[in-house]
Symmetry: C2
Subunit: 431 residues, 2 copies
């Protein structure tokens, strides 16, 4: 079958899927959990094939670790599905209701987006998480995982497809893509696919945006900042910076540039250097930084670089405003934090930094769907429309307007025979 | 100045504009209303130049009528501004608040999108409406109006710019583009422009989508349907179809295809034909339609055509499901209506038709921001993300997450030393 046929099938299924009740989708989720348990041996056998092939291909250890799908990982994804079943249904919610006139009622009701294309990394658990998020929110999905996990992904996708279709979910709602060529084909199918969510490297996300007219939800990069204000409590600032940099260096919400107010620099920088270097962080500084601590020079290029590594660029600024301008110029609109005792400075920072997540006196690493309590995370977005920051199920729904009348026509209102009342009503659809 | 410089200025201004209070933006709106009254003579003189030039160029009468900006139009836009001042501020609303843990509070707060590029038709009143909507919602704007209205638009943009900047709105928040080349340049500026709203022909909107990586809000076309169910009250159905087709033929929410259940066709079609032809509507029908009423043949091409004219294609269908499939296949996801007495049929139609606006027993012409009571309309969207259907001020805002802590770091939670509480709180930001 061609990708276009997959997408057509997914589109047709999406219309029926959008009309399924909460109970049908939750029962299908329960069936997936059951099928994963029942199919464990088959899944683990497929995963062993992937691991053996990847070992032969001398794939790096951290990647092998992420590729591994064992009893513990299966237990984790099943626990995830159970949490998902317990979350409120994002579909069918009445967001607003207005009586336009007597007997003419307008309802704004949440509904699935339709067909979502998701491209994700090599963890097979991501396939389960993503497909169940789409199922909960009533969306069809075209999935493309990492090629290292091909055998595991095939078995997982087939297990989920069979379990859900047996549980009354329309056939064709889920398809697995296996090659890059198929992804390239998918990017052209704007008539069938409503949203692409790419998870992966900066270059990869950039490629998707540049090569598709389909809307994209996600982030290309995470150039995050910590700014240490002149009013900062240094004993608080140091652990925040260390955590923001080192708690997990390879993620988008790790800090890449440290900005320090000139009045705090002399007291803060030597202590920060000691703590960061004890965690093996290499510092690169501007001239003023280097007049206080002995570090390598940072260049303009460093302000634009997402290291994703034990490296941190440091710049001394004259004012809060200079820090804000630096962040809005070089940042990626992801997550930026201020450490300050001065409430007015913090409020100004939160108002003027144009990022999805702006923090005061805490680590940048908190910007995450699980930590935010969203229950489930679709991804992190630096978009300025639809959904921004960590995105939960609400990022997979939109709404439609439903208007119910008794024969009303516009000519009567345009001609002045009738008048609109526009009275807010407190009822849910369907009434 | 180059368009890129305009866009840079607009971006810088947008950050400051996002931080202005409701009162500042409302005072600036009042200043615009005052300046339009004070500058009336200058505006009318500029408009006379546009009208004279357009008359010489033998522009069609309806266009000339829309181009004309007189005392009545000025009074209208001023009344519009006064309504806008009275609307709730879409910016700074706390959409959700969660205590992640003691002393670690997360606020999801609505904020402007940033910089919006809007391309609109020849009515000079559209310039005033659009720029004041952007001002109310705290967005910078790059505007491009119809070239026929160039002189009027120049004076209007300059009047608004001067009045708002004197009222404390950051300079550079509004720029007027004057040529198509400038629009083409704007489409490339994804680093500075966050959203494009094109209003105009199908081909034009298509061109914008195909030639920009910036998200686009709007609709390319409006192929709207009325479906007459077997259970329809024919006395109700006829005026609904006549209104949907003829109340204003040149708009996106006018009906283009009529679908009729085979059991209703014999009773409905002859009466509908008489009423529609008395309004000069030309009918084109499928074979089964033509076996009942004498009309020209409709081809496959007709189901895909937005006439925007006194023409209507007609198809007889066997079932409700066939009508729904026709709409989801040929429609543009704009507005579709069912006429039915059978509640179950109507509910099925509303659940399965994948359009922004789905109506039961009323005219398709109701899908409009004013009629919906949104107060002000940015445009009508057939997007499946961000905003769908008639879009009010809420389509011009997004949100940011603000997290306020007291030195919290993620290592303490990852290591099990601390636990998240995720308690919903009922407070507004700033606390």
């Amino acid at each position: 079958m061609k990708i276009e046929d997959f997408a057509k099938e997914a589109k047709t299924a999406s219309v029926l899927l959008a009309a399924t009740g909460t109970d049908v989708r939750n029962r299908a989720l329960a069936a997936v959990a059951k099928a994963l348990t029942a199919g464990k041996d088959e899944i683990l056998a497929a995963n062993r094939k992937d691991l053996e092939r990847s070992e032969k291909e001398r794939i790096a250890d951290p990647l092998l670790k992420r590729l591994k799908f064992d009893d513990a990982k299966i237990a984790d994804v099943i626990a995830g599905i159970e949490t998902l079943i317990g979350l409120p249904d994002p579909v069918g919610e009445t967001l607003a209701a207005t009586e336009l006139d007597k007997g003419l009622e307008l309802y704004k009701v949440s509904c699935p987006i339709g067909v979502v294309g998701i491209i994700f990394e090599s963890r097979p658990d991501a396939l389960v998480q993503i497909s169940t998020l789409c199922l909960k929110s009533g969306n069809s999905v075209l999935l493309k995982g990492g090629s290292e996990a091909l055998e595991t992904n095939r078995v997982l996708a087939e297990t989920i497809r069979r379990a859900t279709e047996n549980a009354g979910i329309p056939g064709g709602w889920l398809h697995l893509l296996e090659t890059r060529t198929e992804v390239v084909e998918m990017l052209k199918l704007e008539g069938y696919i409503d949203l692409i969510i790419p998870r992966g490297s900066n270059e990869f996300v950039r490629y998707i945006i540049d090569n598709s007219n389909i809307p994209v939800l996600g982030h290309a990069e995470g150039i995050c900042h910590c700014y240490i204000d002149r009013s900062a409590d240094i004993a608080m600032a140091v652990p925040i910076v260390v955590d923001s940099k080192t708690q997990y260096v390879a993620v988008c919400n790790a800090v890449e540039t440290l900005l320090v107010h000139k009045d705090a620099a002399r007291a803060f920088l030597p202590v920060a250097k000691e703590s960061l270097e004890s965690k093996n962080v290499e510092l690169l500084g501007c001239e003023r930084t280097r007049s206080i601590i002995d570090v390598s020079p940072a260049t303009e290029e460093d302000w634009k670089t997402e290291y994703l590594d034990y490296r941190l660029s440091v710049r001394v600024v004259d004012t809060l405003e200079e820090a804000i301008t630096h962040i809005n110029t070089y940042g990626s609109g992801h997550t930026d934090a201020i450490v300050a005792e001065d409430r007015a400075a913090a409020m100004k920072f939160m108002a003027l930094v144009d990022s999805a997540d702006v923090f005061w006196n805490c680590s940048t690493r908190f910007s995450d769907g699980y930590r935010y309590g969203l229950g489930a995370e679709v991804g992190i977005s630096t978009n300025k429309i639809h959904a921004r920051g960590p995105v939960g199920l609400e990022g997979l729904v939109i709404y439609k307007y439903l208007l119910m009348g008794h024969g009303q026509i516009v000519a009567d209102y345009a001609g002045g025979k009738k008048k609109f009342g526009h009275r807010k009503i407190n009822r849910h659809f369907p009434i």
